[in-house]
């Protein structure tokens, strides 16, 4: 088994390279992704190796990046669109919701919208406004789309390839604060299916679910909780839409306590969906209401105070205390 250590950024880069090698119809398109290699260098070196026709430096217009990718899909190409930052996806929102999500249905299966929209999301990098948002719920809410998020370099390497190969349009959320963290990547075998939720740490008392950057924060909380005698099971949802409830249900049947963690604000969020669905499906296993740890209901704050907005280890541990204390 060939494994190697690399950052999530490099893993995405290698994953895209492999996807392009496998299928010559795969194109990359985005702002500054060619010579510059993208503002996060995710596409570093790819234009040099695959040419300007396959790694397309786009004029600065997000609706056009997605809208032309739709036309390319109709022509038989698979375009991986890079949206430079989460907060810049909204000009493309119309194309994503009105066209990308609906064209397969409108054409009764004639059109395959095998495109991937890469979205560096969530905060934690000390950026200015519009560079730290978590817009995943908008897309999770939209029928016709799928939304996934990686939390490790290994997942990044494999999930980007699986997303490119998949025939449905995929919003691919990359936790930008984890881009530079290293991990083991297995170059031979995909660890999981694209839409599988995965148990990252086993435990008996509380089920804590998150995705993207939150997974590592939850794991830190779990390590602390263990020293205090509380055993947390940590689940990485990975697929935000559709959600893979089977491992979550299995875990809750064991623990009876649910905490969901996300950077996005709470109202009408993915975390809300997880709590609602698990309450319905595991009502008799639950020993307390599920609790959401999330961003606050404010525009993303100036980054000097973002650590008090994003779910922290302490806030997760508080939530664990609340669910554990509910029945006494």
């Amino acid at each position: 088994m060939a494994t190697t250590t690399m950052t999530m950024a490099k893993a995405l880069n290698e994953g895209l390279r492999r996807a392009m090698e496998k299928d010559k119809k795969v194109l990359l398109m985005g702002e500054d992704i060619g010579k510059l290699g993208g503002v996060f260098r995710i596409t570093d070196g790819l234009q040099k190796d695959f040419g300007e026709d396959r790694v397309i430096d786009a004029p600065l217009a997000e609706s056009a990046i997605v809208g032309t990718a739709v036309g390319l899909a109709i022509r038989g190409y698979r375009t991986v669109c890079e949206i430079q930052f989460d907060g810049f996806v909204y000009p493309a929102f119309d194309q994503i919701v009105s066209q990308v999500a609906k064209l397969r249905k409108r054409s009764e299966g004639v059109y395959t919208l095998g495109l991937v929209i890469r979205l560096p999301f969530q905060g934690g990098i000390g950026a200015i406004e519009h560079h730290s948002e978590s817009p995943e719920a908008y897309f999770a809410h939209t029928a016709g789309l799928r939304v996934v998020s990686c939390s490790t370099p290994n997942d990044a390497y494999w999930m980007i390839q699986q997303s490119v190969e998949h025939d449905d349009p995929i919003i691919f959320c990359e936790p930008k604060s984890r881009y530079w963290e290293k991990g083991e990547v297995d170059l031979d075998n995909a660890p999981h299916g694209l839409f599988d939720a995965v148990v990252r740490r086993e435990g008996n008392d509380v089920t804590a679910i998150g995705y993207g950057s939150s997974v590592k924060t939850i794991l830190r909380a779990a390590a602390t909780a263990a020293t205090e005698g509380v055993s947390m099971e940590v689940i990485d949802a990975r697929s935000i839409a559709p959600l893979d409830f089977a491992p979550m249900i299995k875990s809750l049947e064991k623990t009876g306590h649910l905490v969901v963690v996300q950077e996005a604000p709470r109202t009408a969020s993915v975390g809300s969906e997880i709590v609602a669905e698990l309450t319905e499906r595991c009502f008799y296993s639950l020993r307390a209401p599920g609790i959401r740890v999330s961003g606050y209901h404010v525009p993303y704050p100036p980054s000097r105070i973002e650590d008090d907005y994003r779910p922290s280890v302490d806030r997760i541990l508080d939530a664990v205390d609340r669910v554990m204390g509910f029945e006494s």
């Binding site: 004029p59 739709v70 009764e108």
Partner: protein, 355 residues
């Protein structure tokens, strides 16, 4: 509308007009063919309006007045070209071979599409204004990558020309020298919003600012539209890049059957445009210039009537779809929420469960 910038080859009275850059290349037979197309499209449009008034369609978007623009453009296409319409391009769809009953599936509210877009090389109606212009440019970028000698044409109106997507598509088409023709039907009205309110300069002149040619053609002159479009498509196919064509025309009817144009435009304006009717001027040419006998016109009218009757029968035969079909093709691959919805519908007995 006499405008020195306007390409016109046939006057409203049916007299041929000479133009320094464009001459009609069409034979008498071909001109008669365009006339037949326009008569049929108008007749089918009127039948559709009646069907809506009788409660058989949810909505109809009449094409009356714009037949020359659409037939001239549609017949200028080569079979391998690809077209991206808005929602009023029934004449273009006719030229692409889309069966009339399939055009009405959206308006009968039994489908969100209605035909196989790959078979006719004519994309499905796009209702969100301007979205399709970007699809056309993207498709054209694919044509470039395939090294194919094909052109792409997209249709939108004066109203949609205010949309960001249309303007972004101009930028991209210019940046990549995409083989695309932007065919803007300026029918003077975006529902109640006059074209003059949305564009301080004639629309075709916008192209210059984006770096490619723009041309205004008399959109009620099928001969001129055909030649102008044909040249733009040929130019695109051989790597000459994009062209914006503004077909200067008029929406004789309402925006849709839900609209009431008497609230925002005066009868006198409509009267002026009646004298520029696109069908009548070709008929005048055929009578005076080509000696076509009146019996022949009667034959075309009878043919159109027969098609309208068939269209009526076809539409009335379109029943309510099995509700469970709403779950088909929402996704390419298995999806738990689709399976759940389908299961629930079967359990509720809403569908027989047949797939």
């Amino acid at each position: 509308m006499i405008d020195e910038e306007l390409v016109q080859l046939l006057s409203p009275e049916g007299e041929r007009v000479s133009h320094p850059q464009y001459q009609s290349s069409l034979s008498d037979e071909e001109i008669f063919g365009l006339y037949r197309d326009m008569v049929i499209v108008r007749r089918l449009c009127n039948e559709s309006t009646s069907l809506q008034r009788q409660g058989q369609l949810a909505l109809w978007a009449p094409v009356q007045g714009q037949e020359a623009a659409q037939i001239g453009a549609g017949r200028a296409l080569a079979p391998m070209d690809f077209t991206f319409p808005s929602y009023r391009e029934h004449g273009v769809a006719w030229c692409r071979g889309v069966p009339p009953e399939d055009m009405l599936r959206v308006f009968r509210a039994v489908s969100n599409g209605g035909w196989d877009p790959q078979r006719y090389r004519h994309a499905l109606p796009t209702i969100v204004l301007g979205n399709q212009a970007l699809h056309a440019v993207g498709y054209a970028m694919g044509v470039q990558r395939d090294g194919a000698e094909e052109a792409v044409m997209t249709f939108f109106g004066d109203g949609a020309s205010s949309q960001g997507d249309v303007l972004e598509s101009f930028v991209w088409a210019a940046s990549f020298n995409a083989p695309v023709v932007f065919f803007c039907q300026n029918n003077q009205w975006g529902i109640s919003t006059p074209s003059t309110l949305q564009s301080r300069v004639p629309l075709y002149r916008r192209a210059q600012g984006f770096g490619f040619p723009g041309i205004r053609v008399d959109g009620n002159d099928v001969l001129a539209v055909y030649e102008v479009t044909k040249r733009a498509l040929e130019n695109a196919r051989v790597g000459g890049g994009p062209t914006l064509i503004e077909a200067f025309t008029y929406r004789m009817g309402a925006h849709t059957t839900s609209d009431d144009p008497t609230r925002y435009r005066v009868d006198a304006e409509v009267e002026v445009w009646k004298h520029r009717d696109p069908v009548e001027r070709v008929k005048a040419l055929l009578v005076r210039g080509h000696n076509v006998k009146s019996a022949v016109f009667g034959q075309v009218a009878a043919e159109a009537d027969a098609m309208a009757l068939k269209l009526r029968d076809d539409v009335l035969a379109m029943g309510r779809p099995d509700p469970i079909t709403m779950f088909d093709n929402a996704y390419a691959d298995a999806h738990p929420l689709i399976e759940e919805g389908r299961r629930e519908m079967i359990e509720l007995g809403i569908s027989g469960g047949a797939r």
